[in-house]
Point group: C2
């Protein structure tokens, strides 16, 4: 029985653990998992700490790590895992495309108590490309690649099943500035165009479902045609793919397989809510996993901030899972420090949305009380990054312990304490 | 005749220059200035480049600089002015409270081609406090302080005229976690409570208007009771003050004096739109100038990001002017680098809102085209921070000129170029 099927029968330890972590009724979680509005990505080979993603739960944040051809070293990636865990990443995706990809993935899974995701088509495509041509990969290569990842314990996998001959036709018609910016999306588009055949991951979706059942991994239905610039947002190519993904969600549920849906991308602020509502509607309230969205294109070096704006808005309007963006996005593979900066930006966005949706403001209240009391140690403890907060305060030399170097002797809090006797 | 009165008579050079910069019809700007929905802060003694703030214009960003008791050095503040101008600040406020405050203000005005704002009550209060007690400042001290700033050429001044005996009574009744966090607000609250008298800036508002007419400075009606934590947002104290500010806006317009209204502060995401709409309604569509808003309290060290989320949302819903926040907020006086980081975050928020409101996506389109063409020099030119973008790309060693170290040999753009012949 799959996790979803178990939930349809009754409660389970997994469901109870998620409910406890979230502070919600286990029955609510059970129903969510049973119907597919909540997923708990959990491959028993890996057996991570249970992490619920979806309706009524707190917003989760994923950290992408992974090597590239130009930066293939495993050591750096393992440091990124460390920093991701330290700053409370809810999931980690290993997107390695350089060095010993199998070894890195296995090391990440071994080191990570949180769910691990991958995009198997990267490795499949790369192997084919390095042997001859990307477009020479065949159906077996694709499914075998997925099976290898599943056997290693990968908890969720991005599969670009919505890229079909039909959606590629929409892409051709679309007046896009950027065509395709998803790596996996570009692989499958190239494959379809070159081979003039249907996407095997779509054509043989039932086989994929069998595999997902057997190994218990969650499908993350990838948005290969996600807009790569704000100009291309919410166009025919994107929405045609989303329509297909909605249909595939239904097939996942029929098969008892957990599924979430991936979303854009680059989206101007006025289209963020629409994107979330459309995805939720077309995909039957499946958990929605967004990359950003980036609300402008002009921020390279600061895309973690641009993504935090879009991510907070998306989560406020119903997105369940935010993929972080780092300051290095569009420019280079992130460093360990970029991973930290990107993760904290996304965690703040997720928290702001949770707070606005009534999913908990306790930490905000505690911080505010500590501020009122000018209790700096407590403020540091409650901050998303105690070290940075401590360092920033320390660099301003203050003449007394209480205030800070911003206001010095004109601290509003101290003045009010003296004059507003409560 | 004041700028507002001139606009009521007909067009002016100031109006035309603003219209040209914004790419809008001069008649639209003239009407906005005449009715008070647009301000052009411009003290003729300073005579800055015309900067229009308000209805139908692009969102502007202000940078706060200024010394404190603990960091009183003018040199550092002048470097902040430099960096603010380099990264396109639309206005600069000098909030100095340490060192030779007069000399710093004059140096900032001399160095700044953009409008300069101040909060005169800081200096007045400090002078009184250093002589004996803050609450000993008298009416003459307050108005004389304002006049000194006006004579130096200050273009806009924050005046906390909405803190009245009545609003202080609301503050006392409010169940706030943080009471008052505005420095000027705390000065006047303490003054009212200690002296048991009405706020002179409210009682003698007509005298303030006379002064504003004489020297042509714009009033920025301060929100002394802005919430200092998300828990306190949109409460009776805040709204009672806003009601008063709305009345004062009317009196400004009757007197031909330009006025904008300041807003919060700390506001959870679900209350941002309400705050903007309420301020616009109660204040008769006066330009709305927000500090942040910060959508969570737990981000010290990252409040420029938290403020960018709130600022983008506020601007999208109609705020006209964003006061930046730096990573040092709540911790220390910002460094030069903090100023840069804070300004860029706010500029991105402002741009994202402009782009979503149809006020220009040309730069986004150009960036997207440069990306499609893998034209890195052009991308750097179009980025908010060309130096950082260049540096980030350079640190990833790539085996060829075209792609970047993120994807290496699996660049979606290159793959599509090969396979999707258009």
């Amino acid at each position: 029985m799959t996790i979803m099927e178990q939930a349809r029968r009754g409660t389970s330890l997994l469901v109870q653990e998620v409910a406890q972590k979230e502070g919600v009724d286990p029955e609510q979680v059970r129903r969510g998992v049973a119907s597919g509005t909540i997923v708990i990505p959990c491959n028993p080979i890996h057996d991570p700490e249970p992490c619920g993603i979806g309706a009524g739960l707190s917003v989760k944040v994923n950290v992408n790590i992974g090597t590239s051809r130009d930066m293939p070293h495993i050591e750096k990636e393992m440091k990124k895992v460390e920093v991701a865990l330290r700053y409370d990443a809810d999931a980690i995706m290993d997107l390695s495309t350089g060095g010993d990809i199998d070894a890195i993935r296995r090391a990440v899974i071994a080191a990570s108590p949180v769910p691990v995701g991958t995009v198997p088509i990267y490795q499949t495509g790369l192997t084919a490309a390095r042997k001859g041509a990307l477009v020479d990969m065949d159906e077996d290569d694709m499914f075998n690649g997925i099976e290898v990842h599943a056997k290693d314990g990968v908890d969720f996998m991005t599969v670009h099943c919505g890229i079909t001959q039909e959606s590629v036709a929409w892409l051709k018609r679309a007046e896009r500035l950027m065509d395709v910016v998803s790596r996996g999306g570009s692989f499958l588009t190239a494959w379809i165009l070159h081979n003039d055949k249907e996407n095997p991951l779509y054509k043989n979706f039932d086989y994929l479902l069998e595999m997902a059942r057997e190994y218990e991994f969650t499908l993350s239905l990838g948005d290969g045609f996600r807009p790569g610039c704000t100009h291309d947002a919410t166009d025919a190519a994107q929405v045609a793919e989303l329509v297909t993904l909605g249909h595939l969600v239904t097939r996942c549920r029929e098969a008892g397989v957990q599924a979430m849906v991936e979303g854009p991308g680059h989206v101007p602020m006025d289209q963020v809510e629409t994107n979330v509502r459309l995805a939720k509607r077309l995909c039957h309230d499946a958990p929605f996993y967004v990359l950003g969205p980036l609300v402008t294109d002009i921020g390279p070096g600061y895309d973690h901030i641009v993504g935090a704006i879009g991510g907070a808005m998306a989560a406020y309007h119903g997105a369940d899972f935010l993929c972080y963006l780092t300051p290095a996005e569009h420019l280079s593979l992130p460093t360990v420090d970029d991973v930290k900066e990107g993760l904290i930006a996304s965690k703040l966005a997720a928290h702001a949305a949770d707070r606005a949706r009534g999913r908990g403001d306790e930490r905000d209240r505690l911080m505010s009380t500590a501020r009122k009391d000018l209790d700096w140690e407590r403020m540091f403890e409650l901050a998303v990054d105690p070290d940075k907060a401590r360092e920033f305060r320390a660099r301003g030399i203050t003449a007394e312990e209480e205030g800070c170097s911003m206001c010095g002797d004109v601290c509003a809090i101290k003045i009010l304490k003296e004059h507003l006797k409560r």
